[in-house]
Amino acid sequence: MITLTINGVEVAVERGSTILEAAQFLGFPIPTLCHMEGLTPYGACRLCVVEIGNGSRTQLASSCTYPAVEGITVRTASVRVVRTRRMIVELLLASCPQSKTIQDLASALDIRQQRFRQEHEDCILCGRCVRMCAEQMAAGAIGFRGRGSYRGIGTPFDVTSEKCRLCGGCMYVCPACQLRCTYTEPDAAICGGCANLAPPCVNKPRFDDMMCYLKPCVACEIKPD
């Protein structure tokens, strides 16, 4: 067992746990986007950063990937951490404003505006779909390609994949297109989230007939919690 201090509370966790698991065990809320139970942690979204260390020599690190180390001190909501989270949410809103998940994150932090040039992307490259496809569905049909602002997710050379079994898992886990409309008439949807749907592994034009590969649109089947 490893003992560490989170927000002043000492906690003992199993060797191999991450700080995120330890904090969630204690009930401290840490927002996440790219993390998902059942998938290996990736550390792409940076929302889950926490402040590790003491005094002047602290660092911020993503709690989902940082292993619990004996004796470290962690703070999940220090000034630096909160400031960082707010900026990350602003950047998210600046890129992907139509995602309800991101809108909810913004409301939770009381952020109503973002100060950058507005973009409308439909992927935040969190990698959940890639890991879902590889780890849970054992297919590995999609992956990352390109670097930096050209980074994207898709099949090798954009060729329709033979490995893809059209399970829809990638769309299921996507935070940019999660929790969308609960209506069977997508036109009357509140958030218009299903208009984002861009399944990476299926070769379809966008926004065409709500680009369902199943009829009816599978988003309608997703019930809110």
Partner: protein, 1056 residues
């Protein structure tokens, strides 16, 4: 080659090599042929050398050694002759053939040697050339002795010897101890203590086999020291890795080298093959059972793969993406095995340090010496290349002592260290020692050692934008904050450089930079903020200039500069526009454009210092600038000032206010004119008998004829302006009196009329004159004060004016100008200095007066000393230092002191009495934005604020103060929104004829012959002919069309 089976056989080989070389000290021609050498033509030199040696049968008398880079890239292709160490820089094809012959005959070719740029003195030995003399070339010197593709050569020079000694009788603990005492820290940038990293690897006692990695993915733009080590001495890296393997019990090594280094890859591949063949790599090395082999992995063009976890991913065949640490590579590295990654320079240091450590086992501590670091010194510096200096050397010593100072002649502003992960250090902090901690504290990092020198023509906003663009492209993209953060920071910097920035964005930039720094998973993102944060820290005013004033003072950001001639003019005169009209033969339009911006066009056409020409792109892009001033003269000679009718407005509310302007110089008269156009009633109060200020009383009439000044001033005076001459502030009027007497505002524009004294005793003796007094006496009263042998002390325009006036005076025999620095540093206009010398004035530079001598109370001689240029001071200019024993004496009759002007106590005291605050340089203090003095309602403009300055600056100040006074009188806030100065009017370019255009030669300004000039004060410069003017105007590159043509196209589409 035969594989060596034992250590004894290795020693045997060393002995044979030593014997073979023998005691002969045959002269050897060493040609550095690293990548830069080959790119400069070293291959041709090698070819010529070989051919000459063969043809002349000199092969047994002269040797040839081809090596890697020696470091003095500026001087390549260069040749070094051993053992004399004769150094020949920048050798051409003919020179090479001559050198070969000279070497065979034991001669030295004087004319091909290095020449000191200041003194011209020739230096023969490489170690005395300033670039080399101030370095400590522990690693780079080895590149001179080793042929990288011959392993026997490397062994003969001591390669692998340290490793063999360790194999024989060394212990891993001793190696670690030696490294610890030597204090070797990683040279890749992070500076982690090498001994500790190796210790951690050695302590890993699992079953997995350990890896050693050499990180040769040198990605920083402008950094290439690793490249030259790999190209020049690859065996030193291999030996370092063998020593590392011995110490940590590793069995496998990888050199991860970037694909963009083909020569390094080639030399490494050859070195690996030869080492394996010889038995120094592989299983059972030299029969000792020790096994270690190295493989080469090539990068694929990603800067991020220089980061260790991304590098490991790449070696494993995955995308170069970093991962979280802990766990660290020593615990879990490539394929999960314990791994140590060190930089090329670190590995190269290992055999040197360990070798020395084994030598000095007497306990001699090397604690104080923290080793050397190689920097790549590039940018606006005279001597670019690779520089190896001890840790802790001050930046100034590298930039000036080794680098030779600025290459452009302009002031050095900053250095950028550490590549895209680093930051900028301003010139004021060049005393900083270079080491990991001091640079980090200053906001930069040591990084891999890149050092980019920047001068005043470098825009720091552009620098930040450049690095942010690089990081944006090279970010792997995994971390949201790094990917989006670099993209957004680049976006914001782009907006700022295009004139669309806001002050809020500066704060946003800082906030965002800090978040990116804090949240990124790897070093790329964590240090991505550095270029932005360090430029904001030290150069925030440049950002403000871009955002608030919409100006780029370095003339780099295209959308803020527009046409450089217009941007450079303090008045914003559309020089490109009137030049365009001249090219089309449209004289009147041209005059209108000039006069619209400038109320003194004829004056400026003769006496302006033409900042527009300094920035003209025809000049800055390698040719010669367009003769804009001469073209202006062409137009103003053809149009009468009265032909231009400016737009007049009437005062919007009530009785027109009254404004008092003190001083009828260019600043005061300009202000009066614009205030009159705005509807005010102006009284101009001038102390001298006639208006014009310096235009009239100081600038001689051979440069600026009296009639020209008078007619231009007359055109400006109208019924709104009352001119009162012979009335001085303090004596005849007071500020209190004016303000109480119904004047709504007062403008102080008295100029700088008091000569600064030399502060030597005897300055008040008869025969010694202050230059302003001397010039005024002649220009206003016609008194010719100069007699016999005249000396003028000073180097500015005032000194030249005084000298050229003196030489025309009746009783003068000779005129000599004495200046304490060199001619290139004289502040006077170059064409003025040229004209003075043409007229027979003698220019003596590097001379300073020490004593004014009198006989019978009258000036009779001057004692002087000669100077040399000494060390550069903080601004980068070399200080004149008196040379001991160089005293000499000049017998003279007249001495004119022209070292500078002050605003003058006599003008300032009444100003002070009027409760106006004054600086300690005797100038009036104003708020630079509003031009208000410390007293409400009193403004000041021109030389009285700035000290001696140019005419066009005074006119611009007058114009601006008029606008401010108008706002003041209308009771509006004193702010002027900065407007961009982008060209907006389309002037169709005429067809350019054959032989004309920017490549053709600049027109020579026609001048009267020297003989005719000497004895009269008639104007020296003559106007261009219409044909000359048209051709000269045709040379303009039309920088405006970039901005106006698209607008024109838009209008055409809409049918406008």
């Amino acid at each position: 080659m035969e594989r060596l089976q034992s250590i004894d056989e290795f020693h045997g080989l060393c002995e044979r090599l030593r014997v073979d070389r023998g005691a002969d000290e045959l002269p050897t021609i060493v040609i550095p042929a690293g990548t830069c050498g080959q790119a400069s033509g070293a291959n041709d030199l090698i070819r010529i050398t070989k051919r000459t040696l063969l043809e002349r049968g000199l092969g047994d008398r002269v040797r040839l050694r081809i090596t890697g880079c020696h470091g003095y890239c500026q001087a390549e292709p260069s040749v070094l002759v051993e053992p004399q160490r004769t150094f020949y820089p920048r050798v051409g094809l003919d020179g090479m053939a001559r050198i070969v012959e000279a070497v065979a005959e034991g001669r030295v070719l004087e004319d091909l040697l290095f020449a000191d740029p200041a003194s011209g003195r020739r230096v023969e030995r490489q170690d005395e050339v300033p670039f080399f003399a101030n370095q400590r070339r522990r690693l780079l010197a080895r590149n001179e002795g080793v042929d990288p593709i011959r392993i026997f050569n490397a062994i003969e020079r001591g390669g692998y010897a340290t490793f063999i000694r360790l194999l024989e009788s060394g212990r891993p603990e001793d190696v670690i101890d030696t490294l610890r005492r030597a204090g070797l820290r990683g040279r890749g940038g992070a500076g982690f203590p090498t001994w500790r990293k190796w210790q951690m690897l050695a302590d890993q006692d699992g079953e997995q086999e350990k890896f050693l990695v050499c990180n040769a993915d040198e990605g920083d733009p402008g950094a290439y020291m690793d490249r030259s080590l790999l190209e020049g001495n690859p065996h030193s890296i291999l030996e370092g890795m063998l020593i590392g393997a011995f110490t940590t019990r590793s069995v496998e090594g990888v050199v991860y080298v970037r694909t963009e280094y083909p020569l390094a890859i080639k030399h490494l591949t050859i070195a690996l093959r030869q080492a394996r063949e010889l038995g120094l790599l592989g299983k059972d090395i030299l029969g000792t059972g020790f096994a270690f082999d190295v493989s080469l992995v090539r990068g694929a063009g990603a800067f991020v793969c220089g980061e260790e976890t991304a590098l490991m991913a790449s070696v494993e065949g995955h995308m170069g993406e970093p991962r979280q640490r802990p766990p660290f590579p020593v615990q879990r590295g490539i394929e999960g095995r314990p791994t140590v990654i060190n930089n090329v320079e670190t590995w190269a240091n290992v055999p040197v340090i360990v070798g020395e450590g084994l030598e000095s086992r007497t306990g001699e501590s090397t604690d104080g010496d923290r080793g050397t670091k190689i920097f790549s010194l590039v940018g606006k510096v005279a001597n670019t290349g690779l520089v190896e200096v001890p840790m802790g050397t001050a930046i100034a010593d590298i930039v000036y002592g080794i680098g030779g100072g600025s290459s452009s002649g302009k002031r050095i502003k900053a250095v950028q260290t550490g590549g895209p992960s680093g930051g900028c250090i301003p010139a004021a902090r060049f005393d900083l020692p270079i080491d990991y901690d001091s640079l980090a504290a200053a906001g930069s990092i040591m990084g891999s050692g890149g050092m980019i020198v920047m001068d005043v023509d470098t825009c720091m906003v552009d620098v930040a934008k450049y690095f942010m663009n690089f990081l944006r492209e090279e970010s792997c993209g995994k971390c949201f904050t790094c990917r989006k953060g670099t993209q957004r920071m680049h976006e914001i910097l782009e907006e700022i450089s295009e004139g669309r920035g806001t002050l809020d964005q500066l704060n946003l930039l800082e906030e965002l930079a800090e978040v990116v720094r804090d949240t990124s998973m790897c070093g790329l993102g964590q240090s991505a903020a550095n270029p932005v944060l360090s430029t904001l820290r030290y150069f925030r005013d440049e950002y403000r200039r871009h955002v608030v004033d919409r100006r780029c003072d370095a003339f780099v950001c295209n959308h803020l500069v527009g046409a450089p001639c217009q941007a450079a003019c303090p008045l914003g005169t559309e020089a490109w526009r009137y030049v365009a009209h001249i090219a089309r033969g449209e004289v009147e339009e041209a005059y209108r454009v000039i006069r619209e911006a400038n109320p003194f066009p004829s004056v400026c056409a003769r006496a302006c210092d033409h900042p527009c020409e300094e920035r003209c792109r025809a000049g800055t892009s390698g040719g010669t600038a367009v003769a804009i001033r001469a073209l202006k003269r062409f137009i103003t000679d053809r149009a009468a000032p009265s032909s231009y009718r400016p737009q007049r407005r009437s005062w919007p509310a009530g009785e027109p206010p009254r404004v008092a302007v003190i001083g009828a110089g260019p600043a005061g008269l300009t202000a009066a004119h614009y205030l009159s156009l705005a509807g005010c009633r102006v009284t101009v109060i001038e102390a001298d008998a006639a208006p014009g200020g310096m235009l009239f009383c100081a600038i001689p009439s051979y440069r600026l004829p009296r009639e020209v000044v008078r007619s231009e001033i007359d055109a400006l005076l109208d019924e709104n302006i009352e001119l009162r001459c012979g009335a001085a502030l303090g004596r005849d009027v007071t500020i209190d009196g004016l303000l109480e007497g119904g004047y709504g505002a007062v403008l102080l524009a008295m100029g700088a009329h008091k000569s600064r004294p030399l502060a030597l005793p005897g300055e008040d003796a008869p025969g010694v004159f202050a230059s302003i007094d001397f010039l005024k006496a002649f220009n206003i009263r016609g008194e010719q004060l100069a007699k016999g042998r005249v000396a003028v002390i000073g180097g500015g325009n005032s000194a030249i004016d005084a000298a050229r006036t003196a030489i025309r005076q009746r009783d003068v025999e000779s005129v000599t100008i004495l200046y304490r620095r060199t001619r290139t540093e004289m502040p006077a206009f170059a064409e003025e200095i040229e004209a003075a010398i043409e007229e027979g004035i003698v220019l003596e530079t590097l001379v300073a007066p020490t004593k004014i001598g009198t006989t019978n109370g009258v000036f009779s001689h001057l004692e002087c000393m000669r100077n040399t240029l000494g060390e550069a001071d903080a601004s980068g200019r070399r200080r004149p230092v008196p040379t001991a024993g160089s005293e000499f004496r000049l017998e003279l009759d007249t001495l004119i002191v022209a070292i500078s002007e002050d605003s003058g106590v006599d003008a300032i005291t009444p100003a002070r009495g009027g409760r106006i605050e004054v600086t300690d340089r005797n100038t009036v203090m104003v708020d630079s934005a509003t031009m208000l003095t410390s007293r409400y309602g009193v403004f000041a403009a021109g030389d009285v604020v700035t000290g001696p300055n140019t005419i066009v600056d005074a006119i611009a100040a007058g114009k601006r103060s008029a606008a401010m006074i108008e706002l003041f009188l209308l009771d509006r806030p004193l702010e002027m929104r900065a407007s961009g100065c982008l060209p907006s009017v389309y002037v169709e370019p005429p067809p350019v004829l054959e032989g004309e255009g920017a490549d053709s030669a600049r027109v020579e300004t026609p001048r009267a012959s020297v003989a005719w000039r000497r004895r009269n004060f008639a104007e020296v410069e003559v106007t261009l002919s219409p044909d000359e003017a048209r051709r000269e105007a045709g040379r303009c590159m039309r920088c405006d069309l970039e901005f106006t043509q698209p607008l024109q196209a838009e209008l055409a589409k809409v049918g406008g």
